[in-house]
Amino acid sequence: MKLEAVQRILNCQVITGHDKLDEEVGVGCGADLMSDVLAFIKPNALLLTGLTNVQSVRTAEIAEVKAIVYVRGKLPDKEAIDLAKEKGIVLLWTSLPMYESCGRLHECGLAGGSELEEGLRDAKRATLLATL
């Protein structure tokens, strides 16, 4: 999913990385605890988080996260923004809460980490959801 689609779906403001919105993310991950991010996230991911300090961006740099969406209308602090500019990580923010943000992106086809691991395709995911 292109970052410009993420921006549109979540009605995001762009904090930094306006020039990278045509780039793609392959998987989504929503978490506020960075150790959970490090344990579960896949490369080339979109991270959705409510953690706004510089550790959110350091974790992103370590785990090769392409872009971060700060949810619940939270804005990252200056150190986080400066580091993201330096490392080329796109930062977005939305007023939507975590659950809705993740839900909307998943509904539009952005896979989660376990789906990537299991090699599930959209059609199979839709079939699974229909059986619930």
């Binding site: 605890l33 960075m34 959970d36 510089v54 785990a63 090769e64």
Partner: protein, 142 residues
């Protein structure tokens, strides 16, 4: 006999220094990239180093992190002066954490750190002495 290191660097880590927390691991990642290590191995080494570095920042007074690259492996050794771990088996369990609310507010203390280091490493040795500190030896085979 251990191989001669091709590269060696030591980083000092300061306990409770949340401003610089993680910088050593980001440096390690940059060094491994420059050496030309495979990206998936860099990612594993960076994640394990970062978890280890954050443990020192969050729980210890101070510590050091040493990176050694030989033709055979990448080794990250962490040595801290801190409270130590009384029950290593319990500390290795996913979800188990002794983190304070302050640590959780920083975004850490999920109880995934040590198990995540082990998961990413090819070999992981942990030794700890209560009241003295903890040492980690994390190895990634090339």
């Amino acid at each position: 006999m251990p191989s001669e290191p091709l590269f060696w660097q030591r980083f000092d880590i300061c306990g409770r220094d949340f401003v610089d927390a993680g910088k050593a691991s980001i440096s390690i990642k940059g060094i491994l990239r420059e050496i030309g290590i495979h990206p998936s191995l860099i990612r594993r080494a960076a994640i394990a180093s970062y978890e280890a570095e954050m443990n020192v920042v969050l729980y210890a007074r101070k510590g050091t992190m040493e990176l050694r690259v030989t033709p055979k492996d990448i080794r990250v050794m962490v040595d801290d002066e801190g409270p130590g771990i009384s029950d290593i088996e319990l500390a290795m369990r996913e979800g188990y954490s002794t983190a304070s609310d302050e640590i959780r507010e920083m975004g850490f203390g999920a109880g995934m750190g040590l198990s995540n280091i082990k998961k990413n490493a090819d070999d992981f040795i942990i030794r700890s002495l209560v009241g003295k500190g903890t040492t980690l030896e994390i190895t990634f085979r090339l």
